[in-house]
Symmetry: D2
Subunit: 145 residues, 4 copies
């Protein structure tokens, strides 16, 4: 595939995934950049997304990062699923914060892909470090691609 074909496939995959992704819709997640093995996503944290301490629930930041990871690791066109994720929280997130998640592949073998997702707030402060290991099935997203 040419770079142009790779980019077109990446965009086609993510567009198809977004049709079904109800949770990302509820989050208000916006995909701002797609490239092969990359995704950037953005969302605003709302008052209905807090935990028992009144700050953003860990599950919100995780969901944003996990969506970015899922988009990035499927861009090559094979159906790819998450094996394992980890997350740390260097800084707290509050309602009103606007978060940007940047997902990139760090390494890959034939079957596995290793991704990192950095999540920053509107001030550029790193609020979460997310890692994801993905298993690439042999099934294509589009039989014709």
């Amino acid at each position: 595939m040419t770079a142009t074909d790779e980019q077109a496939l990446a965009e086609r995959v993510v567009a198809a995934m977004l049709v079904h992704d109800e949770l990302s819709r509820w989050l208000g997640l916006e995909v701002t950049r797609i490239a092969p093995r990359h995704a950037t996503c953005r969302m605003a944290v709302r008052a209905d997304m807090v935990n028992g301490f009144g700050v953003s629930h860990g599950g919100i930041v995780f969901s944003l990062a996990d969506s970015a990871f899922a988009f990035a690791c499927n861009t090559h066109g094979r159906v790819t699923v998450s094996v394992e994720n980890s997350i740390t929280y260097p800084a707290a997130v509050h309602p009103g914060d606007v978060l940007t998640a940047v997902a990139d592949e760090e390494a890959a073998s034939n079957k596995l892909g290793y991704y990192k997702v950095d999540v920053r707030n509107q001030h550029g402060v790193l609020v979460a470090l997310f890692r994801g290991t993905a298993y690439k099935t042999s099934r294509p997203h589009f039989p014709d691609a």
Copy 2:
């Protein structure tokens, strides 16, 4: 503290956390058992909780497990925050599934607590293995407790 006092404190802490926990409310999360260093929570997966493949978004199972972890690790009465979490997904989760998350402390030092959360579906199948490391601040939930 007596065992009775510890149980009363655990319940008081979780009741206070639930007042503010808007995300757990949206999830439909129900706390079915609280004990010192333990929480069991249950929720039903809805059609608006799916990802781009039409199965439960990883963020949903994570959020359920993370809530159970947060309740369990705060039961001793000091404000306790998450340091790191990891999750794996041994089986897929579908809309309509009813999930039960069981959170227990595995080990603890003065400052840190190590928790595991097992999440099973209505058939008893393990669908997620979640781990959490928690940092215990010196701040009490209730100055009088």
Copy 3:
């Protein structure tokens, strides 16, 4: 396979692995129990295993746990490799301590196995919580088995 056959295969696999496992030999690791999807291993921490603080190097406890994990996850007879590991350290380990690592499968799919390894010292204190995700190749350890 009968339970007897499964046990015999498990022991045969681990015996074959031990022939080549030079690091476990240097550690002084002893395999004290093997069963399908299980391994128990023991070792004594020596003065030449410390880190810059004079306590056991994290790599020593990790290596013990990783060996126990590798033995346990190969017992079913297919060549199985590690995908990801995590470890926490609830208590310090000192030269002279005798450590026992108990590895068990928590869940499995066709391709992946999820293991936990608890490491305790001679007083029964939990000194490490190790998790491992393993990928089962289709290659048998013994073509005749």
Copy 4:
């Protein structure tokens, strides 16, 4: 502290740690660069470092990465200990390979530091992705510093 003072403190801390670090000595680990919140370390994998499959034991790569992490996260001069580590293995390591581990801080709060360690072989291939969370005690390495 000036940048010069920070660099001098970093070097002094690591020099003091290396005096006691018997495992790093056995590994043949060489510290090739120290800077505030950074360490680069190198070692050659020997035939006595293999696992049951004849490739480098996971504990060897982990130990190298863990040493680099420990040096990097102690450079600020407060005694700092590991809370949690995770590692993945994008490519196999063989005896004879020369590994370089590069440890850098990704984020930090007052009490915690978040580090990544990339390990590459002599061909520049990424063979391990290691993450470490560190807890900074209030105890200085040198009361006069």
